[in-house]
C-alpha cells in the first residue's frame, strides 16, 4: 500500500464509517443536540439575569455579575467541565441519587455560556439609545416597566446573531463532556467517534463525527448571516417624504 492510499484508508475508510453511523444517528447526534440546547436555554436565562444585574443601579449586583463573568470567561472550558463534573459528582449522588455526570456536564456548559450570553445581552441593552428610556420615563412609566417594555426588547433584538453564534459554540464545546467518562448511551458525537477510532486504530470515525458537526454548524452559521443581514437592512426601510417636503420637492428625498 502506498502512502496515499494508506492516508485515504486512515481518514476515509468507508467500512468504519458505515459501522459508526448507526450509533451516531441513534443517540450521538441526539446527545450533542440535547447538551447544546439545554445548556443554551439555561445559559440564556442565567445570562439575562446577569445582564440585568450588570446594568442594575445596585453596585453589589453589578459587582457580582462582573466577578462571575470574569471568572467563567477567563477559564478554559475543559477545566470548568472537569472541576464541576468530577467535583460535584458525589454531592449529586448524595442529594439526588444520580450517578451520571451528564447533568453536571450540562450545568458546567450552562454556567460558561451564561457568562458570554450575559455580556452579549448587556452590551445589546446598553447600545439602545438613552432617549428611549428618557421618552418612556417622560410618559410616566417607572424605571422597571420602561426597561421591560422599551429598552430590553430592543436590546435583545439586535443581539440575536451574537446569540446564535454562542449556540454554535455550544454545539462544539459540548464535545468536552467526554472528559467526564459518560456511560455509552450518554455519549455524544465526538466521543463515539473517538471510541471507535481508538478501538480500530483508524481516524475515519472521527471524520464521520466531523461531518455531523459541520452539518449542524454550517447551516446555522449561514442562518446567522441571514438574520444579521435582515436586521441591518430591515432598518433601512424606505422613508416617505413629508407632504410639505414633497411639495417643495427636496430634502426628504435626498
Amino acid at each position: 500500500m502506498d502512502a496515499w492510499s494508506r492516508l485515504a484508508d486512515t481518514f476515509l475508510n468507508w467500512g468504519y464509517i458505515a459501522e459508526v453511523l448507526p450509533t451516531m444517528f441513534s443517540y450521538g447526534l441526539l446527545n450533542t443536540i440535547v447538551l447544546a440546547l439545554t445548556s443554551g436555554l439555561i445559559g440564556t436565562i442565567l445570562g439575562i439575569l446577569l445582564a440585568l444585574m450588570g446594568i442594575s443601579r445596585n453596585p453589589v449586583a453589578r459587582w457580582i455579575a462582573r466577578i462571575y463573568t470574569d471568572i467563567f470567561r477567563g477559564l478554559p472550558a475543559v477545566l470548568v467541565i472537569l472541576v464541576i463534573g468530577l467535583g460535584f459528582g458525589p454531592l449529586l449522588k448524595d442529594l439526588a441519587g444520580i450517578r451520571s455526570p451528564y447533568p453536571l456536564g450540562i450545568i458546567a456548559l450552562s454556567l460558561m455560556a451564561a457568562a458570554y450570553i450575559g455580556e452579549i445581552f448587556r452590551s445589546g441593552i446598553q447600545s439602545v439609545d438613552k432617549g428611549q428610556l428618557e421618552a418612556s420615563r417622560a410618559l410616566g412609566f417607572g424605571y422597571g416597566p420602561s426597561m421591560r417594555m422599551i429598552v430590553v426588547p430592543q436590546g435583545i433584538r439586535r443581539v440575536l446573531p451574537a446569540l446564535m453564534n454562542q449556540f454554535i459554540a455550544l454545539i462544539k464545546e459540548s464535545s468536552l463532556v467526554f472528559t467526564l467518562g459518560l456511560m455509552s448511551r450518554e455519549r455524544e458525537l465526538f466521543q463515539i467517534g473517538q471510541d471507535f477510532a481508538a478501538n480500530n486504530g483508524n481516524q475515519s470515525p472521527l471524520v464521520a463525527a466531523a461531518i455531523f458537526y459541520l452539518a449542524l454548524t454550517i447551516p446555522l452559521t449561514h442562518l446567522v448571516n441571514y438574520i444579521d443581514n435582515r436586521l441591518r437592512t430591515g432598518k433601512e426601510q424606505k422613508h416617505e417624504p413629508d407632504e410639505a417636503a414633497a411639495v417643495i420637492g427636496k430634502g426628504a428625498h435626498a
Binding site: Q132, E134, A138, G140, H239, D242, G251
Partner: protein, 245 residues
C-alpha cells in the same frame, strides 16, 4: 378640536449641580395656565435641563415646582410626568412598535384603558396631527416631520396639563420646521400650557406669550416677546439676539 384642561406651572429657585458643574443656579419661571413660554439662550445655558428638572426626570438639588399652584416635589415623580407631556429633539419614538402602539401604550398601561379604548384614543390623536393613515406602520418608515407629529400625538394621548417641547424642530430638515411649529402654535391657541425650548426666534416672537432668556444656568431676562426682542435690557440678551437674528 377639543380644548385642554391645562394648568399653570411654576419653578421656584431651582438649583442643580453635577459635581462642581452648576447647571441651574436659581431659576424662577412661571407659566400661566393656557399660555406658552419660550425658553431661549445659547447652547449649554441649561434650557433642556430646566425642562427635565421641572418634570423631575432629574431631581433638583433645591427649589420647588408647582403645578396648578400646588407643590409636586412630594408626589410620585412617575405620576407627575403623566401630567406633563414631553416632546424631544430626536423624537424618541419606540422603533419596535407601530405608530398607533407608540401613542396607545401609555394610556393603555398607565390609565388602564382597554386595548380597544386606547387604540381609539390613539387614532383620534393621530387624526389631530394628520397621520391617522399611518397608524399601522413602524416609525422608521416615516419622515422626520411625521415622526415628530407622532411624538406630539403620543404626549397628548395622556391628556397632559402642560406640554414641554425640547428643541422639537432642531433635528428636522428646514422645510419641515414650519409644519411642526404651526402644530405647536395650534395647541397653544387651543389652550395648552406650554414650555417651548427653541432656537426658532420667529416662533418665540410670534407665538409665545412670554419669553425667558437663559444663560449659564440663570434667567437673565424675561417678559413678553415684544419687550424681549425690541427692548432688551441686558447686554447679554442684546449680544445673543445680535448673533441669532
Amino acid at each position: 378640536m377639543s380644548q385642554f384642561t391645562s394648568g399653570s406651572l411654576t419653578g421656584k429657585n431651582l438649583h442643580l449641580a453635577f459635581g462642581s458643574n452648576k447647571v441651574l443656579r436659581g431659576i424662577d419661571i412661571h407659566v400661566e395656565k393656557g399660555t406658552a413660554a419660550s425658553v431661549i439662550g445659547p447652547s449649554g445655558s441649561g434650557k433642556s435641563t430646566l425642562l427635565r428638572v421641572m418634570n423631575r426626570l432629574i431631581e433638583p438639588d433645591q427649589g420647588d415646582i408647582l403645578l396648578d399652584g400646588r407643590s409636586v416635589l412630594k408626589d410620585n415623580p412617575d405620576e407627575l410626568r403623566r401630567r406633563i407631556g414631553m416632546v424631544f429633539q430626536q423624537f424618541n419614538l419606540f422603533p419596535h412598535r407601530s405608530v398607533v402602539d407608540n401613542v396607545a401604550l401609555a394610556p393603555h398601561k398607565l390609565k388602564r384603558l382597554s386595548a380597544d379604548e386606547s387604540r381609539e384614543l390613539a387614532l383620534a390623536q393621530l387624526e389631530r396631527v394628520g397621520l391617522r393613515h399611518k397608524a399601522d406602520v413602524r416609525p422608521a418608515t416615516l419622515s422626520g416631520g411625521q415622526q415628530q407629529r407622532v411624538a406630539i400625538a403620543r404626549a397628548l394621548a395622556m391628556t397632559p396639563q402642560v406640554m414641554f417641547f425640547d428643541e422639537a424642530t432642531s433635528a428636522l430638515d428646514p422645510e419641515l420646521v414650519k409644519g411642526i411649529l404651526a402644530l405647536i402654535a395650534e395647541l397653544g391657541s387651543d389652550g395648552m400650557t406650554m414650555v417651548v425650548v427653541t432656537h426658532e426666534m420667529g416662533f418665540a416672537r410670534s407665538t409665545a406669550d412670554s419669553v425667558v432668556f437663559m444663560d449659564h444656568g440663570k434667567v437673565v431676562e424675561s417678559g413678553p416677546p415684544d419687550q424681549i426682542f425690541t427692548a432688551a435690557e441686558t447686554d447679554r440678551l442684546q449680544r445673543f439676539l445680535s448673533q441669532v437674528l
